[in-house]
């Protein structure tokens, strides 16, 4: 019963944090959600002696959920590592911001400048100007549909 409550709380808090825009909350939310799922896997386990040959009598514990939980933990570890790298690069991209400041509204501050520099390198000058002005409505559109 305690596990059921714990899993519910972890999943609820995880989903709530995932709904936020802040990358740090996204990371914590994904972590909590992952923990909830792994706990879910562990609670379905049949209990018993260690699943080793010659480790005592009686029924042995079901080894499969342990294997599944281990794999799931490794995967969520990888996801967390990637998310941290992503959050870090988001912060680094923003000019004049340190890594500890909140990162709301960063995309509008950083990307158009970098974008237009790239465009200018590959296109003719008037195209770069045109492309630069084109980005903004597209960006607003994305925010709306997301």
């Amino acid at each position: 019963m305690i596990f059921v409550v714990l899993i519910s709380v972890l999943v609820a808090v995880g989903v709530y944090l995932l709904l936020d825009d802040d990358p740090v909350r996204l990371i914590i939310g994904a972590g909590l959600l992952g923990h909830g799922a792994v706990l879910g896997l562990l609670t379905v386990m049949r209990e018993g002696r260690p699943p080793l040959v010659g480790a005592g009598e009686g029924t042995f514990a079901d080894p499969l959920p342990q294997a599944l939980a281990l794999t799931a933990i490794v995967i969520s570890f990888g996801v967390t590592a990637f998310l941290l790298a992503f959050a870090r690069s988001t912060v680094d991209d923003a000019p004049g911001r340190s890594a500890v400041e909140p990162v709301d509204g960063i995309d509008s501050a950083s990307d158009p400048t970098r974008e237009s520099a790239e465009m200018a390198a590959s296109l003719s000058p008037e195209a770069a100007a045109g492309a630069g002005s084109r980005r903004h409505p597209e960006h607003g559109d994305e925010q709306a549909s997301a």
Binding site: P23, L33, G34, P65, D111, S122, G130, E138, A146
Partner: protein, 487 residues
């Protein structure tokens, strides 16, 4: 014959690792990817021939662990047809990325390993015979596609990346919970084993966990109420990579949905709820496409609409419907990738995909005009093309199902075909007719055009070999539903 099935997954993985080692040798790296992908394609085609000659399916217990326990790979018609098409699309995208796409992405050493990882993950998702390996495969495709999206997205990458990650991370955790639920109810996660044990489980939790699985895989596939992440992310990719995303990623979800829903018998024949979802997906996708003025966005919304057709085949939940869905997936992956590659060539030439800034391409680039025209006709389903073969098999199945709901959905499918024509006409009028007015006018010298012609030729093969393919797809549907079929 069965020994090399795991190689279809391991070879791209190894090539990806090799690609990382070859960071300073771009040509060799690219050659390795091409050879590996061509090898996977050849392997699938050999399997397909073997299967169609009466073998039905090839099952491999990896590591010689007897099936209910170990990781089982199942090369049935669904897996081999979809796997072969996935390899073909990856091959075309590899050819195209050599000469096009943003230069800093093209020369990035991580591009090729990520593409190979994406291929390996999707192959594993198509071939796997158990739920947990399906989860792992979905995670592999998710991670590689996310890193690629983070690197390649144009404009503001944060909004699409957050939408993509938020949705997919939540879905992954729910998927894992559903797997745990399935295991506690039945004591197995092998799909073949589940087909026998699942009906003996109590009804109420069965509905809950089964529904959770349907929702989770539905989000992955881009089904009706839960598809909004898709048009929010795909257009932010360069279209040359959008081709790969449109062809591979949602289809991983659709193929998994076909496999899981049939193994656990999660639907009726035909299923009213799934028919509603399928019709809504078809309609909303095509209406969304009609509202757009950017070729990339139009094509992305069409991905949603086309997923609706595949779900329609699943919702019928009989032999003809599922066989039609398998053919439709093959047709759709090829033609959608071809259209995205055409979009990539247009962007390469004009520097934009906005219809307002394009025009007169039919006069300046007649070859591109023919390519787009033929590809659009294939998407719409004009008779000799593969779109006609695929849609005919679905409409046929819909009418044969005989219920009012199936008939209404069939009508929706036909109407959506008409609306698809409308939005393709919109691209044609906007980009190909009228006066040439591109701001930039660079010569189209990219390899995307021959790659798209190659994919178009592949759809030609789908319609030429329509008969044998329909037979194999029917065997696949029999195996999915667990009736008859070869051992």
């Amino acid at each position: 014959m069965s020994d090399f099935v795991p190689v279809l997954v391991l070879a791209p993985l190894a090539a990806g690792a090799g690609g990382l080692l070859l960071a300073s040798r771009p040509r060799l790296r690219h050659l390795l990817a091409l050879v590996t992908t061509a090898g996977v394609l050849a392997g699938h085609l050999a399997l397909l021939v073997h299967i169609s000659q009466g073998a039905g399916e090839v099952r491999v217990a990896t590591g010689a662990i007897t099936p209910p326990l170990g990781i089982e790979l199942v090369a049935d018609p669904l897996a081999t047809i979809v796997g072969a098409v996935a390899a073909a699309v990856t091959l075309a995208v590899l050819v195209a990325t050599r000469t096009m796409g943003p230069p800093e992405l093209r020369s990035w050493f991580g591009l090729m390993p990520l593409l190979m990882l994406l291929l390996a993950g999707s192959q594993l998702a198509f071939l796997t015979g158990d739920l947990f390996t399906l989860f792992v495969a979905v995670e592999v495709t998710l991670l590689s596609s996310t890193v690629l999206l983070a690197r390649a997205a144009r404009g503001s990458r944060d909004a699409p990346l957050r939408a993509y990650l938020g949705v997919n991370l939540a879905v992954s955790a729910l998927f894992l919970l559903a797997v745990a639920g399935v295991y506690v109810m039945t004591g197995t996660i092998n799909l073949a084993d589940l087909a026998e044990r699942w009906p003996q489980a109590p009804a109420a939790p069965r509905a809950l966990v089964g529904g959770l699985l349907l929702v989770v895989l539905g989000v992955k596939a881009g089904a009706a109420p839960v598809f909004t992440w898709l048009p929010a992310t795909y257009p932010s990719m360069p279209p040359v990579l959008g081709a790969l995303y449109a062809a591979l990623l949602t289809k991983v979800g659709v193929a998994a949905l076909l496999r899981v829903a049939t193994a656990l018998d999660l639907a009726e024949t035909p299923d009213p709820l799934l028919l509603t979802v399928a019709s809504a997906t078809m309609l909303l996708g095509v209406l969304g496409a009609l509202a757009q003025n950017n070729i990339g966005r139009i094509l992305s919304w069409h991905v949603v609409s086309q997923v609706g057709y595949m779900l329609f085949g699943l919702a019928l939940f009989d032999l003809a419907g599922l066989a039609g869905a398998i053919i439709y997936i093959a047709h759709h992956m090829l033609i959608k990738a071809a259209l995205f590659l055409v979009a990539a060539a247009i962007e390469d030439h004009a520097g934009t995909l906005e219809l307002k800034r394009l025009g007169g391409l039919a006069r300046t680039h007649p070859g591109l005009g023919w390519l787009f025209g033929l590809a659009a006709m294939t998407l719409i389903g004009i008779p000799p093309t593969s779109g006609f073969v695929a849609k005919l098999s679905l409409v046929d199945a819909g009418i044969a199902a005989g219920t009012t709901g199936a008939a209404v959905s069939t009508g929706v499918a036909l109407l959506v075909g008409l609306l698809t024509m409308l939005s393709m006409t919109k691209i044609w009028i906007g980009a190909f007719w009228g006066e040439p007015r591109s701001v930039v006018d660079r010569p189209v010298r990219s390899a995307a055009v021959p790659a798209a012609w190659g994919l178009l030729a592949a759809t030609g093969m789908v319609s030429l070999l329509g008969g044998p393919l329909a037979d194999v797809a029917r065997t696949g549907a029999e195996l999915l539903l667990g009736i008859g079929g070869a051992p």
